[in-house]
Structure formats: structure tokens, C-alpha cells
């Protein structure tokens, strides 16, 4: 679902009331309640925003999300191959209408070039986590085996701990962290998801056109 303004948006929610041309129902028949936008089924959405790399653009996006009452789960920002363009991956919870509203609000920011909701698209979605796990000499082998099974890496070893680097989908990283918990997690950091659509299509090329 794209919130590109040139498509004129889309019809949110279902049709309230009844077919046109019908006279109002008698007073005793209570009319159906009109749906309140944003009150539908909540689930996780992933938005990709291509923005101009200008000072304060992250502040603008974060401020908008706060002011409009959208709940960001994660936000990852980085440069792209074009020096003046940055890319944000925003994961948030809401119903389809609320998230579409978030995308439209993002479009109102002058520095935002393109917003795409890639939730329903086939994508590659990864994040990276660093986990400092308690692991003395006795249990280190166990940790290493577990990490290998999840195609993670040990990136640092100390006397009584190791740092595990895990890369994968949010669910994969969640699963590895759950297993590592039994050893004792001393420290944990996650980057938040970054996402790219599968296939040859390119959101950046779409902007250049």
C-alpha cells in the first residue's frame, strides 16, 4: 500500500450508512455507527522513508510521530549511495488507516521525498544485535554452538563473557536472545530493522524518475 498523494489516497474504512437515494430511515431505527478512522485491527507495519539529508530531518520525523500520537517501535536511519539522501526504516503498530495517516503526515514534511508501506510486500528485513552474554570457560562452548546454529558470530571474548553478533529478522534475533537469556545477558543493543523490497524494483530509482 502506497500513500503516494498522486494516487489520491485510497478509501479508508468501510462505507457507513446506506445506499444513496434512500430517504432517511424512521427515527426508531438507529442508524449504523460511523467507523472512527484508526480504530481497526492493529498490527505491525514497516515504512520506508527516503528523506533529504538535511540537519534536523530526524528531529522532524520524530517530532511528527510524537505529536500525531503514532507509536514508533524502531527507527533506523542511514545514508544511501547518494550523499544528500538518507533512508529511514520505521516500524510501528497501528491499523491500516492509522499507518496510512502516518505516511501521509510524513509526506507533509518538506524534506521527505518518498514514503512506502512495505508491510505487505516481499522484502528482506534484517536487524543486527550485539549481546554480551555471561560465559565462563565452562559454558562458552555451549554459547558458541548455539550462536553457530543461528548463524551468529562471536565478536569478542573476555574471561567470563562473550559478545554475540546476531543478524536476521526481528523474530530470529528475538529467538536467539531468548535462548541466550538462560546464560545471563549483561548488555544488549539492537539496531532496529532495515528493509529492502525483493526483486529489481528500487524506491530510490522511482524517486529519480
Amino acid at each position: 500500500m502506497s500513500a503516494d498523494p498522486s494516487t489520491n489516497g485510497q478509501v479508508p474504512g468501510q462505507a457507513p450508512g446506506q445506499a444513496p437515494g434512500v430517504a432517511p430511515a424512521p427515527a426508531h431505527a438507529a442508524p449504523p455507527a460511523r467507523a472512527i478512522p484508526g480504530s481497526g485491527q492493529v498490527h505491525r507495519h514497516v515504512l520506508v522513508a527516503i528523506v533529504l539529508n538535511k540537519p534536523g530531518v530526524l528531529n522532524r520525523v520524530a517530532s511528527l510521530m510524537r505529536a500525531r500520537n503514532f507509536n514508533i517501535e524502531s527507527l533506523a536511519v542511514s545514508h544511501t549511495d547518494e550523499p544528500d539522501v538518507s533512508r529511514m526504516t520505521i516500524t510501528l503498530y497501528g491499523d491500516d488507516v492509522a499507518v496510512e495517516q502516518a505516511a501521509k503526515q510524513l509526506y507533509r514534511l518538506i524534506d521527505v521525498l518518498k514514503v512506502q508501506d512495505v508491510t505487505a510486500e516481499p522484502t528482506v528485513e534484517h536487524e543486527l544485535a550485539l549481546v554480551k552474554v555471561r560465559a565462563g570457560e565452562r559454558r562458552r562452548g555451549e554459547v558458541i554452538k548455539l550462536v553457530e546454529m543461528y548463524r551468529g558470530r562471536i565478536v569478542d571474548v573476555a574471561a567470563d563473557s562473550v559478545i554475540v553478533e546476531a543478524v536476521g529478522t526481528e523474530a530470529e534475533v528475538d529467538a536467539l536472545i531468548a535462548l541466550l537469556r538462560s546464560f545471563g545477558i549483561k548488555e544488549l543493543v539492537r539496531t532496529g530493522s532495515v528493509v529492502m523490497s525483493r526483486g529489481s524494483g528500487s524506491i530510490q530509482e522511482a524517486i529519480r524518475r
Binding site: A3, P5, S6, T7, N8, G9, Q10, V11, P12, G13, Q14, A15, P16, G17, Q18, P20, G21, V22, A23, P24, A25, P31, P32, A33, R34, A35, I36, P37, V51, L52, P55, G56, N59, R60, S63, L64, A67, V97, E100, Q101, K104, Q105, Y107, R108, L109, I110, D111, V112, L113, I207
Partner: protein, 650 residues
């Protein structure tokens, strides 16, 4: 907010020739005394601190900037500096008047203003007044209004006005000075993060630290403010940027557009959506047009009338949509919403199609969304895609400019014979007769012969031949004005609808009067709002701005009192408001004033005020406990209007 005196100007003039733009090359004199404050700790004891190390270029720049702040030396090398760029850019944008208040860091601009006599500078008495004046100017002219202030308190005083402009989509450009760029972040005198403050309440904002950026930024700001859905843009300029020499050229409009790849508003409705809309309109039996402020922004009133006539759809308007259609037009049905006409709300609740254009289904318009217009399918036209589906789910969304969409719809909608709608129109007319007869006091007297506010508003409308600009404050006076004046012309009604800013009317009327000097300008205000910003009376006098002020004095915060009476069981805390002798007050400002406390004094006072060449004030002592009816209590729907409370003749 001023921090300097004239003496310093003359003192600085002598060595003006030796001056060079600060920050360009830190001079030796600046670096040398820089050792003094650091002497206590000594350069040997290197400590981690936000204070730059002595002897470094950063320390020299800070030192230089602090000296500039303290000495305010006059810079008189008439090469082109940042301040010149600001003036040139304003002239290029067609600005003829702007509203401002000087202060320390914006003085470089004031230093060159005298060289640009095309720019009329209005010295307001408070920056909030300046922002409202720019707003009022923009509303009546359709041009971009400009206000300025200095850093710190000057900038924060502008904030209420910027917020007012944002909520009502008014194109203004607010310019503030800021401390020299080397002092930013150091909590310098009168420094505040105004960019952070205005970020969520502007369409866009800028911080300029380099004069070379000024031509582009100012051109972009005006383009963004007026293009698409209008709105306020704030530009914060550091003092050194105002003083810096520059030869940067002004960009063309094409260059501005090319430099804003993320700002491409959609003006034309999608043809498929237009065809869908035409089909919905052809099927509707009880349709209604809901006209909002967007019709006025797009200057689409002629197209709206033609569209309504061709499709025979009655037109209801929002508070800010007043003037989108002449209220005497047979298809004009009236003002909707919380204090709107009962017949209008009733018609919306029974409509089978709403054609909403340039309005945003604000909570004051819909009440409880669940029970709003339960039988209606909705076509929603707005230039801002984010408005569509935000508050109310709609069947046919159309993103586009009101004028362009109506122009495109006109040829594809089927003409309707009024006879086909005879039954519908008859019903509407009956509802209208019923509702107009209630809550109106044609005799001019409310209970016990006390002066009725609706009568006063109506007489102001009639005696000005409905040709004036009417500027509302906020509260009961605003609702009376909206309901009883009788508006005939676009942009003749100015009101803070979205933010509901008390104190708006007098300063906004100041801007409106300068924007449309061909029309009389009336500020309608209550004793509460008037006491918030009446310092601008002196601006009216000094700059000879002919604003007629109708002050509705009920010795109360009327709308507060009304809510406390009806919703809070008569617990009148802080509703009673002491006011001065307003006639003497006006007299002290040199403004002629009249007082009217009885219906038979109203016309005479209005005529007397009209005859004045300059500002005038009428003090209407109105009934203290009169309410605005009908009223939709918060959380209720359009079908739940309260029409009377207490007395029988409300």
C-alpha cells in the same frame, strides 16, 4: 526587548570603516584579550569543558561574537549584507508592509531598513500582535503576511500567532534574529531554541547561519507558505548572517521549485475520482455541499456557486468557510457545527451525500463522529491528502485544489432541474424558518430589556452594508458574529477558528485594515480577549490604521460562563471579569469612543464610529448572562443540540 541605545550607534559609526563581517577572519585583537577569562584556570590545566580552549580559532570566534553582542557597533559599509538580502527578497515577493519589533540581534536589519522605503514597517507593541497582524493581512489579501521579532522573548512571543496561522492554514513568513552562530548553544543572552519550538507548529522552518543561503531560503519560505495547503514558515537568522557580506543572487521561481524535490502538492483531482464523484452526485436525492476555508484559499467561490447551481446542491459552510458563498444566495444554507444553525446540522444529519470541499471534519463540525451524518456517503476534496480519512472515513477521496477540482467537475456533472428537488428544498426551508426564529432577538433586547449581542452584530452588518471586513475574537462574540452578521463577500470574515486564540481580533484587524484599505474594518471582541492585546491600540494610533472596535462587554468570560452554567452545574469559577472604564481607556490612547447600553443607542454609536477617520471604539454593554444557542455539548452529536437553558426566551 530592546537592548541598545542610540549612543552606541554614533559611537560605532566612527570606526565603522574598519569593521568587517564577524566570523570571517578572527582578528588578533579579538584573540588577545581572550586569554583573560581563561587566566584563572590557566591554559596548562587542560580540562574537559564545553568552553573552547584558549587561543583556538573557535575561542576567538566566540570572543568576537561576545564583543559584537556587547558593543552593538554600527556597521556602515554599504556593501550588500545579509540584512539587505532580507529586504530585497521581501520586495521581490511583493511585500509592501510587515509587522515587527526590534531587539538586539535583529538590529542589523533595522540598520538597513531605512534604505528600503518600499517596505512599510509597522512597529507593533508586542510580537504576538505582529504575528496576528500578518495573519489578518494574509487572510484578506490572499498574499503572504510577514512578521518579525528578535531572538529569545521576541521569538517566543510570535509563537501564539504562528500556531494560530498553522491551525487555520494561513500563509505567513515569520522571521526572527538569533544570536551570532558562534554563540548558538551557549545559552547566550536572549538565546532560545526557537527553531525547536516552531518545528512542530510550522509548515517548515529554517535556521540560517550564512548570508549566502538567505536568498534561497527566503524564496523557498514564501513558495512553501503560499503553495498547496498554505501555512506559516519560520526563518531564524543568526546575527552574523545578517551582517555578513554576500553577493548570492536571488533564485528564480523555477530554481526554487527544483530545489524542493520533496514538496510537490497535487493540484488536479484524479480523473477517475472525479468521475466517481459525478456519479455519486447524480444519484443523490438529499445532497449537501460542505464548503470550508479551502474554497477561499483557492479563490474558488465563483466555481463553487456555479457548481452548486448546476447540481442544485445547497451549500453549508464551516466557520472559516464563511464567505465561500453569499449568504443571500438561494442555495446558501448556513453555518454548521457546534454553534451552527440547527437547520444546517439537521440537514447534514439527514443528507444522503456530503460533498465536502476544503474542510477537514474538525471536531467542532462533526461532534461525535460515530453519529455524524449517518445516512450520508461522503465525497471529500482537499489539497492535503493527510486530511482525507483523518477524522471521518469517506467514500470518494479527491486530492486537489478546490478551484481546479470544481473546474474539472463542472463539465462532467449532470445539470439538475430545481423542480426535481422541490420536496427536499421545501423541507429545508421549513427547518430553516423554525430555527432562524429561535435564539434571535430582533427587538434588540434580551431579558429585562438588556442589550442583546446578536442584535448588535446584525446592526453592524447592516449599517456597513455587509461590505466591511469583520474580524472576530474568540468565544461568544465570535459565534454571534458568525451567525448574525450576514456575510456576502469572500475573505470578509476573519476568525481564529482552529487555535481559538483570544486576543486575536484587534491585532488581526490591524493587518486586515492595511491589507484591504478599500473596506471598513471592524474588530468584534469581548472584554476578555480585548484585555489580552489592547496594547496594539497605540499602534493603530501611531500608524493611523482605521480599525473600528466593537467591544462586547458582559463583564464576563462569556463562553466560560456559558459552559459553567450548562456543563458544570453553575459553578462560576473565574467567569467574572473586572474591566476598566473602556471609554476612558480609549481616550487615554487618543481613540474616540462611544458607549451603548440600550438597543436604541446602537445605531447612533455605529454611525459615529464609522464617521471617524482613524481608529474608533464602541463599548457595548450587553446582557451579562446571554448564551449562544444552539450549542452542542462536547462528546455529543449534531442531533443533540441544546437550544434553551433556564429562561424561556433564550
Amino acid at each position: 526587548m530592546t537592548t541598545t541605545t542610540g549612543d552606541e550607534r554614533t559611537a560605532g559609526a566612527a570606526d565603522g570603516a574598519a569593521k568587517r563581517p564577524p566570523g570571517a577572519t578572527p582578528s588578533a585583537t579579538a584573540a588577545a584579550p581572550g586569554a583573560a577569562p581563561g587566566a584563572a584556570t590557566g591554559p596548562a590545566r587542560a580540562r574537559r569543558s564545553h568552553v573552547p580552549a584558549d587561543g583556538t580559532p573557535t575561542a576567538a570566534a566566540v570572543e568576537q561574537a561576545q564583543k559584537e553582542m556587547l558593543h552593538e557597533a554600527r556597521i556602515r559599509h554599504r556593501t550588500r549584507i545579509g540584512a539587505d538580502v532580507v529586504c530585497e527578497a521581501l520586495i521581490r515577493q511583493g511585500v509592501d508592509v510587515f509587522f515587527s519589533y526590534p531587539g538586539g540581534v535583529i538590529l542589523p536589519l533595522y540598520d538597513v531598513l531605512g534604505d528600503y522605503p518600499e517596505l512599510r514597517h509597522i512597529l507593533v507593541r508586542h510580537e504576538q500582535g505582529g504575528a496576528h497582524a500578518a495573519d489578518g493581512y494574509a487572510r484578506v489579501t490572499g498574499k503572504v503576511g510577514v512578521c518579525m521579532g528578535t531572538s529569545g522573548p521576541g521569538a517566543t512571543n510570535l509563537v501564539t500567532g504562528i500556531g494560530t496561522a498553522l491551525l487555520d492554514s494561513i500563509p505567513i513568513v515569520a522571521i526572527t534574529g538569533n544570536v551570532p552562530s558562534a554563540l548558538i548553544g551557549k545559552d547566550a543572552f536572549q538565546e532560545i531554541d526557537i527553531n525547536g519550538i516552531t518545528l512542530p507548529m510550522t509548515k517548515h522552518n529554517y535556521l540560517v547561519r550564512n548570508a549566502d543561503d538567505l536568498p534561497r531560503v527566503i524564496a523557498e519560505a514564501f513558495h512553501i507558505a503560499r503553495t498547496g495547503r498554505p501555512g506559516p514558515v519560520h526563518i531564524d537568522i543568526t546575527k552574523d548572517a545578517l551582517q555578513q557580506e554576500t553577493s548570492a543572487p536571488h533564485p528564480t521561481e523555477e530554481e526554487v521549485v527544483a530545489g524542493l524535490p520533496g514538496f510537490r502538492p497535487t493540484f488536479d483531482g484524479h480523473p477517475r475520482q472525479l468521475r466517481l464523484a459525478a456519479r455519486e452526485i447524480a444519484r443523490a436525492k438529499r445532497p449537501m455541499i460542505l464548503a470550508g476555508h479551502g474554497v477561499l484559499h483557492a479563490r474558488a467561490w465563483d466555481e463553487l456557486r456555479a457548481f452548486a447551481e448546476k447540481t442544485q446542491m445547497p451549500v453549508a459552510h464551516t466557520l472559516l468557510g464563511i464567505g465561500a458563498i453569499d449568504e443571500t444566495h438561494p442555495l446558501s444554507y448556513g453555518y454548521m457545527g457546534m454553534h451552527g444553525w440547527k437547520h444546517v446540522n439537521r440537514a447534514i444529519q439527514s443528507a444522503d451525500l456530503l460533498f465536502a470541499i476544503g474542510m477537514r471534519f474538525d471536531d467542532r463540525v462533526t461532534g461525535n463522529v460515530r453519529t455524524y451524518a449517518p445516512y450520508a456517503r461522503i465525497i471529500h476534496v482537499d489539497i492535503d491528502p493527510a486530511e482525507i480519512g483523518k477524522n471521518v472515513a469517506v467514500e470518494v477521496p479527491i486530492v486537489g485544489d478546490a478551484k481546479r477540482v470544481l473546474e474539472a467537475l463542472l463539465p462532467i456533472v449532470e445539470p439538475v432541474d430545481p423542480a426535481e428537488r422541490a420536496g427536499y428544498f421545501e423541507q429545508l426551508a421549513e427547518w430553516r424558518r423554525e430555527s432562524e426564529a429561535s435564539s434571535w432577538h430582533g427587538s434588540g433586547a434580551w431579558r429585562d430589556g438588556l442589550l442583546s449581542a446578536d442584535y448588535v452584530v446584525q446592526r453592524i452588518g447592516e449599517l456597513t452594508n455587509h461590505e466591511a471586513t469583520y474580524v472576530a475574537d474568540v468565544g461568544q462574540n465570535q459565534m454571534w458574529l458568525a451567525r448574525y452578521t450576514g456575510f456576502r463577500h469572500p475573505n470578509s470574515h476573519v476568525s481564529s477558528g482552529g487555535l481559538g486564540t483570544m486576543g486575536f481580533s484587534v491585532p488581526a484587524a490591524m493587518g486586515a485594515a492595511l491589507g484591504r484599505p478599500d473596506r471598513e474594518t471592524w474588530a468584534i471582541t469581548g472584554d476578555g480577549g480585548f484585555q489580552m492585546t489592547f496594547q496594539e491600540l497605540m499602534t493603530l494610533v501611531q500608524d493611523h490604521i482605521p480599525v473600528r472596535i466593537a467591544l462586547f462587554d458582559n463583564k464576563k468570560l462569556g463562553m466560560i460562563r456559558q459552559w459553567q452554567e450548562i456543563v458544570y452545574a453553575g459553578n462560576y469559577h473565574s467567569a467574572h471579569l473586572l474591566g476598566p472604564d473602556f471609554a476612558k481607556l480609549a481616550e487615554a490612547f487618543g481613540i474616540p469612543a462611544w458607549k451603548a447600553s440600550r438597543p436604541d443607542q446602537v445605531d447612533e454609536a455605529i454611525r459615529a464610529a464609522q464617521a471617524v477617520d482613524g481608529p474608533a471604539l464602541i463599548w457595548f454593554e450587553i446582557a451579562e448572562e446571554q448564551n449562544v444557542f444552539p450549542m452542542m455539548p462536547a462528546g455529543k452529536g449534531l442531533s443533540d443540540l441544546i437550544e434553551t437553558w433556564g429562561g424561556a426566551d433564550e
